[in-house]
Amino acid sequence: MSDWTRDEMMTVAAARMLWDGCVCFVGIGLPSAACNLARLTHAPDVVLIYESGTVGTRPDVLPLSIGDGELADTAACVIPLPEVFSYLLQAGRVDVGFLGAAQVDRHGNLNSTVIGPYHAPKTRLPGAGGATEIAAHARQVFVMLKATPRSLVAQLDFRTSGGFLEGHGARAKTSMRGTGPQSVITDYGVLKPHPDSDELQLSALFDGATVDAARAATGWPLKVAATVGTIAPPTAVELETLRALHARTREAHRRPVRLPA
């Protein structure tokens, strides 16, 4: 099966990074699809936490928002939101934080706040939400975003969430407790930080993607790791599971809602 989309490849690649039993703080959108794909394939006991307070949730369809009722119905427990951030995240009990962003820079710092100046924005984005503290405290962070020179940028318009800051060990000198963005999953492949400089470099390409295409889609001069792996294309099981999940989700979200009386 080779008729997969780049979105599907990204989702599959991200899902593979989760291990069974890992405790994962899930952002909405692509991360949510990846985490649930992992749960439905090789990691049935992954613990999914949404910031709405649903812990250990096992939704049958993907939530449109972070607080859909499906997440509560299938959760091991539903806790108050302040506890999600204090008892789980801040206390260091989350293995993986899964984030999206509008912009990522070469040191894995993220912008989800604003394009243009903060006080005279060109485009106002939603803002931090849970991302700043997820980026600081999850033991490691995975970032997912589609690569363009406007998303992988040399200079963020605003730093919403800290990655490796200025690099070269700067993060380790702060009181951020997690190890930062260990993988950035784009639609051409995966970037990982260089062990010394903390600069994101091309670590693996998706089947069919090229170093040149990766460079063209990156807003800084992208460095390439000594060896660049190739990520195996989605298996039939992965693709079928993901597509069935999306189909169930589409159908559920299309179901007309009767207005309450």
Binding site: S65, A72, T113, F158, S175
Partner: protein, 283 residues
């Protein structure tokens, strides 16, 4: 103080004054839309709105000119995109300038908790590696008196009025809710006055044990308001109308279309039941 069971319009008239600091909470679930619409109908101005996730309801209130300040941590249409009215207010000061007091979820959650606890500030390991403190002077620091560590501090949030929606209340004003509860209890305990709309008022609530109950003596007013959280949802009653959230993107994109929709459905409706009926006509 014992909660008064009253009409929503009376509760808003009595407790929400122009210029007040008001928090409508509910994290995706139990968002008090009916109460927000009533505030719009009563033409409140210069409100300081507080909410972790300004949702469609704040898009509507801001677009209708109710607010002059917003404390928040994530302002979007979940899973859909932007809140166009919020963006228009921030980007183009339409219909009025909007001062923003921007935080992270962890920060607002901690600030509500501090407010609920009667403390003037909250301490957190937060705002690390972010530019937010450079644009928000209300994010400060505090040093641990034992370890010397520097931690972030935010001022407590104590809304003049917190407004929630819940499944049920009894006739004394005790309120019971279940499902995703966000920071609602903290926002409730932090408030000087607490208005709750409910799907149903019953004679007596079943024994709660460890369930979520807001006791009547912290509730200022309870109003029965079936469907009061629509288009958000009420666990066990009705689902979130995801399609409406998607449609809102088009409704709110342009000023004229937004105003026409608000006039037709909110302003022309005398209450939430009429609002819902007006949507049923469209469907």
């Amino acid at each position: 103080m014992t909660a008064r069971v009253t009409a929503l319009s009376d509760a808003i008239a009595a407790h929400v004054r122009d210029g007040a600091c008001v928090a409508l909470e509910g994290f995706t679930h139990l968002i008090p839309f009916a109460a927000g619409h009533e505030i719009i109908r009563q033409g409140r101005r210069n409100l300081h709105l507080v909410r972790m996730t300004p949702d469609l309801i704040y898009d509507q209130m801001i677009g209708m000119g109710c607010a002059s300040r917003l404390t928040f941590s994530w302002g979007g249409n979940p899973g859909v995109g932007s809140l166009h009215r919020l963006r228009d207010a921030i980007e183009h000061q339409w219909p009025a300038p909007l001062e923003i007091d921007e935080h992270t979820h962890a920060g607002v959650a901690a600030a509500y908790s501090a407010g609920a606890a009667g403390l003037p500030f909250a301490t957190l390991r937060g705002y690390l590696g972010t530019d937010l403190p450079s644009v928000n002077p209300r994010i400060r620091s505090v040093d641990c008196p034992f370890t010397g560590e520097r931690l972030a501090a935010v001022p407590a949030i104590n809304p003049e009025v917190t407004i929630l929606h819940a499944q049920r209340a009894d006739r004394h004003g005790n309120v019971a809710m279940h499902g995703i509860i966000g920071a609602q209890r903290e926002a409730a305990f932090a408030a000087r006055a607490l208005i709750v709309t409910v799907e149903e008022i019953v004679e007596e609530l079943p024994p709660a044990m460890n369930g979520i109950v807001l006791p009547h003596w912290i509730v200022s007013a309870v109003a029965q308001c079936p469907g009061g959280a629509y288009p958000s949802y009420v666990h066990g009653r009705y689902p979130r109308d995801n399609a409406f959230y998607q449609r809102w993107d088009a409704i709110a994109r342009e000023r004229a279309g937004f105003l026409a929709w608000m006039n037709r459905h909110v302003l022309a409706s005398r209450d939430h039941a009429t609002f819902l009926a007006s949507l049923r006509q469209v469907a």
